[in-house]
Amino acid sequence: MYICLMYSNELIKGTLKTIVLSLLAKKGRMYGYEITQHVKEETDGKIQLTEGALYPLLHRLEAEGLLETEKENIGKRVRKYYRLTETGNDQATSLAAEFHEFSQTMNRLLNNFSLKPSYNV
């Protein structure tokens, strides 16, 4: 429900915040639709953020002081751009580093497991 297809919910639920913060760290400022499209393109559609997951998260991160918004008028409607605050930037860096290390550890661990049977044969 949170994120469409390809990967299981459990796997991705914990990384949503990392994805959004890292993306904003790289791009500077983005609006909601742009974020969903960007993630979709970068992952060849393997990770698709839904609105139901993205906007609640954005609002919460804003309330926590990790993001700030600026509004721009686009015709009759308002577009809200999100950008990282200073604390948000720190968080983005540390979350990305943490995830990087985690995935390396997981790789090593899983490699060990999967190699064993082939040696035994």
Binding site: G32, P56, G75, K76, R77
Partner: protein
């Protein structure tokens, strides 16, 4: 690049609002999102209608409302500190109530203070905090359930507190609290559980078991005494009443003392005290049973519903300084003792005073500490016990009366004898 016109933007905005997005910030986000998505799809050659439909589909089965719900939940999640504070309040009040209950059962000092603090903390701090949290984090259609649960629990807690402390209004508060819980909260809770649970029959039977336990506990609370034990106690009271009736049968003795001023005074003072005691008895019965004085006069103690009620008797006797307070009773009995002493000649009054029935200056030992006369005899004693006490006092008065009558008779017998000395002293006392 296509751009939506004013009308189309207004249409989408209305759609979003109509689907329950009340929050402005979220509305702006979603409006821009939907518009951009539609514009991009129109660039690929789709019509506005098709693009709109396709975009809305992406919001998933819960639709727009779910987006708002989740935003709400994430924003209002209780922070860790608040959770800790709420938890520690809950823990403290539970601990206080538990300790208070144990103290109460063991008759130790301080039970009342512990229970008041525990129940107060529970009803005035913890439960409101819990309600506030529940209302914030759950959907609006559940708020009725949480509010009824809060009101019911708070009233029940206060009712139990009042009941234990024997304060007035306990029964009404307790009953209305439990009625709200039983009639509103429990059905709503199980309806909700039933609707959302995977295994409906198990939820249903758990609910039934819980209800049955609840009913059993309250059923057992009302029949916690054995009938034979009860009869044994009531029998003492009934026998005392018989003795009082018998002892009051002293008209023949009075008739032998016709013209004796002391006998007239004696009769008046005994009648006064006896009437006072009887009026206490009628007041207690009529108030506890909720019947008229007239009906109370004919009531049989063993048939009274409220025979084991001690809240109301204790409240009447200790709840103020009115006509039926314990202090008023003491005043009446004290004046009886002073008056009856006047019957005896001055030389023997101090000896007679020593054998009068009531001694209000004495202290009584009750579960390890000292109490005064009225507390010992009446406080927290059930109605049947209080009535037996009153009958016993009636009998004491009658016995003192018989004693005085026999004394007066012996005095008049002496005065009729020819011995001059004693005749003179009798004449003096008259």
């Amino acid at each position: 690049m296509s751009e939506l016109n004013e009308q189309q933007v207004a249409l989408i905005s209305a759609y979003i609002k109509q689907h329950g997005i009340a929050q402005n910030e979220l509305h702006d986000d979603l409006l821009d999102h939907v518009c951009t998505s539609i514009e991009n799809q129109m660039d690929e050659g789709k019509s506005f209608e098709a693009a709109f439909e396709q975009t809305i589909k992406l919001f998933g089965p819960g639709g727009l409302k779910q987006v708002q719900q989740q935003t709400f939940e994430l924003l209002t999640e209780m922070n860790e500190n608040m959770k800790k504070v709420a938890f520690s309040f809950g823990l403290t009040s539970t601990f206080l109530l538990l300790a208070g209950t144990i103290f109460k059962l063991m008759h130790w000092y301080g039970a009342g203070v512990l229970i008041i603090l525990g129940a107060g903390l529970l009803a005035l701090v913890y439960l409101p905090m819990l309600l506030w949290h529940k209302l914030k984090e759950s959907p609006r259609d559940e708020s009725m359930m949480h509010i009824s649960g809060f009101v019911g629990l708070t009233l029940t807690t206060i009712g139990v507190l009042f009941k234990i402390m024997h304060w007035p209004g306990a029964a009404v508060t307790l009953l209305s609290g439990m009625a709200i819980l039983a009639a509103l909260y429990v059905p709503l809770f199980y309806f909700k559980k039933y609707k959302s649970s995977a295994n409906k029959s198990i939820t249903l039977s758990t609910g039934l078991v819980a209800m049955t336990c609840f009913i059993l506990v309250f059923g057992l609370m009302s029949v916690n005494r054995s009938t034979n034990f009860n009869r044994g106690i009531l029998l003492v009271g009934a026998d005392l009443e018989d003795s009082v009736d018998k002892a009051a049968n002293n008209e023949a003795l009075y008739s032998k003392l016709e013209g004796n001023q002391n006998a007239v005074a004696l009769k008046a003072t005994v009648n006064k005290s006896s009437t006072t005691l009887e009026s206490f008895r009628l007041e207690l019965i009529s108030e506890t049973e909720g019947i008229s004085r007239e009906d109370a006069k004919n009531a049989k103690v063993y048939l009274l519903n409220g025979q084991d009620n001690f809240d109301i008797p204790t409240h009447i006797l200790f709840g103020g300084e009115g006509e039926f307070s314990a202090n008023a009773l003491i005043t009446s009995l004290e004046s009886f003792q002073t008056e009856i002493l006047q019957v005896y000649k001055p030389e023997i009054r101090s000896e007679m005073a020593a054998i009068l029935p009531f001694d209000f200056s004495k202290t009584y030992e009750m579960s390890g500490h000292e109490t005064d006369w009225e507390t010992y005899h009446f406080r927290h004693i059930p109605l049947s016990g209080v009535l037996s006490q009153l009958s016993k006092m009636q009998l004491d008065i009658r016995n003192a009366e018989t004693q005085a009558l026999l004394y007066l008779l012996s005095q008049s017998a002496v005065s009729e004898s020819p011995s001059g000395d004693q005749g003179a002293s009798e004449a003096q006392s008259l």
